[in-house]
Symmetry: C2
Subunit: 427 residues, 2 copies
């Protein structure tokens, strides 16, 4: 890890640079698969499933028997853990429901705002060795709470044409309406255009490799929305001598094992703590099964010593971390003043992995500095707000002249006329 | 206007097609101006201002004297109208404030969600003959209510290097912190990268021509968010014999005068009403100053006769109109079941222009079918939600095993270890 002592604010930009991804070279392949799927549907999807996932499928849709089998092969202990996580995530997301906002802005001018569910959503869950069933909890639970009618899930099949049982089990438990054995670019294209088997959706959620990321970006050019722009995962910890160095090291490593491009940063006013954490990382990393991955991303990562809490805060707000752990005596200062962070974890007994799995908060969060302007996934991500207004005769009499004057000043005579006609009829 | 009687649902897709825009040919120029502004800042902005707006500027920033002068040249009547609109818009958007959502999901596991303002936002206001000061009300009022620190506005100067007084007056009235005389692609590029004079912002709002639209799309590739994808404005009216045909015609025309690519649609179960509205349009259009524009978009527009309310509703939800006027006896049916619409206007005395200017609702709304998945601009558009969690010793004991099991099942050992270490320390 790089140790950086008391950097000048002018150096922050360079120090806080994230590992960059180049995607322009894969845009072409994504574009061409999209065009093929748009024109030929399932046939093309099956062709690419054979090519990339090495399996020929008759049906893309997972059937009830497959879901029942999957349910039987998940251990009871894991089922209990998933049930506990589901309960917490449900509680926290259900509490985010907002009621109708209703205001009579002037006598006879009633305005209100209501949220209604996005009717059709698509969830993408990557395959590979780590079956990310936790991400299904994070996406399908709020989708179901929001009232989305169709909740479609795509995940790539393995060489035997199967999807990991934990994924199937969690999907049916959380209200997913259809599961498809489709991965990668072809899955995103399928949900964008719709095919003979896969429904077209209005918004696509979920993580993925760089191909999926570019495909989601391209989907936005075809009237589909996405949850947020993607980037490598990241964690910033601010800690002082009140922090347990072993715990801090374990949190930094838990983020580092995600991928070689993950980034972890420790910010501290205490040189003693920085040194202790560095030593703990050296010890703990040797015991990890994903030591090689964690080692590489730890190599990119930084231990930054700063003068005081204000400087630490300014640097953190400049960075805008996806995950932000606060382990300091003066925690109130950070909680009150943090402006840019996806999710905040407070104190020695709040590991980031609690939020990744089971505490109740969502783990789909803005990376790459997007915490400055994007929310993490929440209940509202599956709804849209609509406004309504109803104006009475009295109302239009009260507000009409103002509208006429403003429309005229903007040179929009027909806008004015729509009011004038009504006012005349009431004379 | 095209009259379409009792179309089959299979024909809806074709009937409801929006006028399309091709933008690929202007992407190249947008890309190249972005690269130049990124590299050379103000110098390039001034170069393009000279080229496109035909004026050489010393300073891009509007100064206090210019704002004072502008204020003096806006009529008192217009000021009063703007003040009334501001008051209504403030009331409706202030009511959208949400409080902290706090849940103890399990004993010792406290989770909460808070919204914090996006620190730096940019507003784009087009120039030309129609000074859209009303859009400043719609963007700067919620930005100020949200607590955004920097609210930057860019609008192109005229040949004399000036911005319309109504724009300057409204901007200062609504809390804009800096106003720049910059338009088009170079304005969006300036707010994306920041220059010597223009601050870099985190999110850009506001309408514009196709160059601005493409520039906003490109900005999203440089870590900037935008309000929503843009498209031509549109209105759908559902009306029966309880509607006033002259009022309906005036609303359709008020939308049609926006631009030649605007789209207006009337859906009705009453042939009598359809014919009456058609006749009213023919009469009213002759009196409009923007008759030529309105005539062209009316040419693209449709009068659709349907069998019953259910069919009307299904067709409307399939279309997802930006503006939706409901003028029917059975209005409750539509209000309850409309799923996809930007803003809904109810009854004979609620012209769409009320919402465009002064009733209190926002006029920045999803077009092009995006009402299926996007909200119109509202208070939350200027904030992001962050989550927080604090787990006690008791809390981690209660939740720890579930996290360990799930992390293990996902093959993420370091995630598990972060919990195991803490649980061990508590034995």
């Amino acid at each position: 890890m790089q140790r950086i002592n008391y950097p000048q604010p002018t150096e922050w930009e360079e120090i806080l640079k994230r590992p960059t991804q180049t995607v322009s070279d894969i845009e072409e392949i994504v574009n061409s698969i999209f065009k093929e799927v748009q024109a030929e549907g399932d046939t093309v999807i099956k062709k690419y499933t054979a090519q990339f996932d090495k399996v020929s499928l008759e049906s893309l849709l997972v059937n009830d028997a497959e879901i029942d089998n999957a349910s039987n092969s998940v251990s009871d202990a894991l089922k209990q853990a998933i049930t506990l996580a589901k309960s917490n995530i449900e509680k926290f997301h259900a509490a985010q429901k907002t009621s109708k906002v209703e205001v009579e802005t002037m006598p006879g001018v009633e305005c209100w705002q209501e949220k209604r569910p996005i009717q059709k959503v698509g969830l993408y869950i990557p395959g590979g060795t780590a079956p990310l069933f936790s991400t299904i909890l994070m996406l399908a639970i709020p989708a179901t709470l929001a009232g989305c009618k169709e909740i479609v899930l795509c995940s790539p099949p393995d060489k035997n044409g199967e999807i990991n049982p934990a994924i199937l089990y969690t999907a049916q438990l959380c209200g997913v309406t259809q599961i498809f054995k489709v991965g990668g670019i072809q899955a995103i294209a399928g949900m964008t255009f719709g095919t003979e088997s896969i429904p077209k959706v209005y918004k696509i959620f979920g993580p993925g490799n760089q191909y999926v990321t570019v495909a989601k970006q391209l989907a936005t050019q075809y009237n589909v929305a996405i949850d947020m722009p993607a980037g490598p995962s990241e964690l910033l910890v601010v800690a002082d001598d009140s922090a347990n160095a072993a715990f801090v090291a374990s949190d930094l490593l838990s983020q580092a094992e995600h991928g070689v491009d993950s980034q972890v940063i420790l910010v501290s006013t205490s040189e003693k703590l920085v040194k202790a954490v560095e030593k703990e990382i050296e010890n703990q990393i040797q015991l990890l099964s994903r030591e090689e991955i964690a080692g590489k991303s730890i190599g990119n990562s930084k231990l930054i010593l700063v003068k005081n809490d204000q400087e630490a805060l300014d640097l953190i707000n400049e960075y805008g971390p996806e995950h932000f752990i606060v382990c300091v005596e003066n925690e109130g200062f950070y909680l009150e003043n943090i402006q840019n962070a996806g999710s905040v974890f407070i104190g020695n007994y709040t590991p980031e992995s609690a939020g990744d799995y089971a505490s109740g908060t969502n783990h789909t969060l803005p990376t790459n500095g997007y915490a400055k302007q994007y929310s993490g996934v929440n209940l509202d991500s599956f709804m849209k707000s609509m406004t309504f207004q109803k104006i009475s005769k009295k109302g239009i009499k009260g507000i009409g002249t103002a509208i006429e004057l403003m429309a005229e000043a903007e040179g929009l005579q027909a806008h004015k006329n729509a009011v004038t006609l009504r006012l005349k009829s009431l004379k």
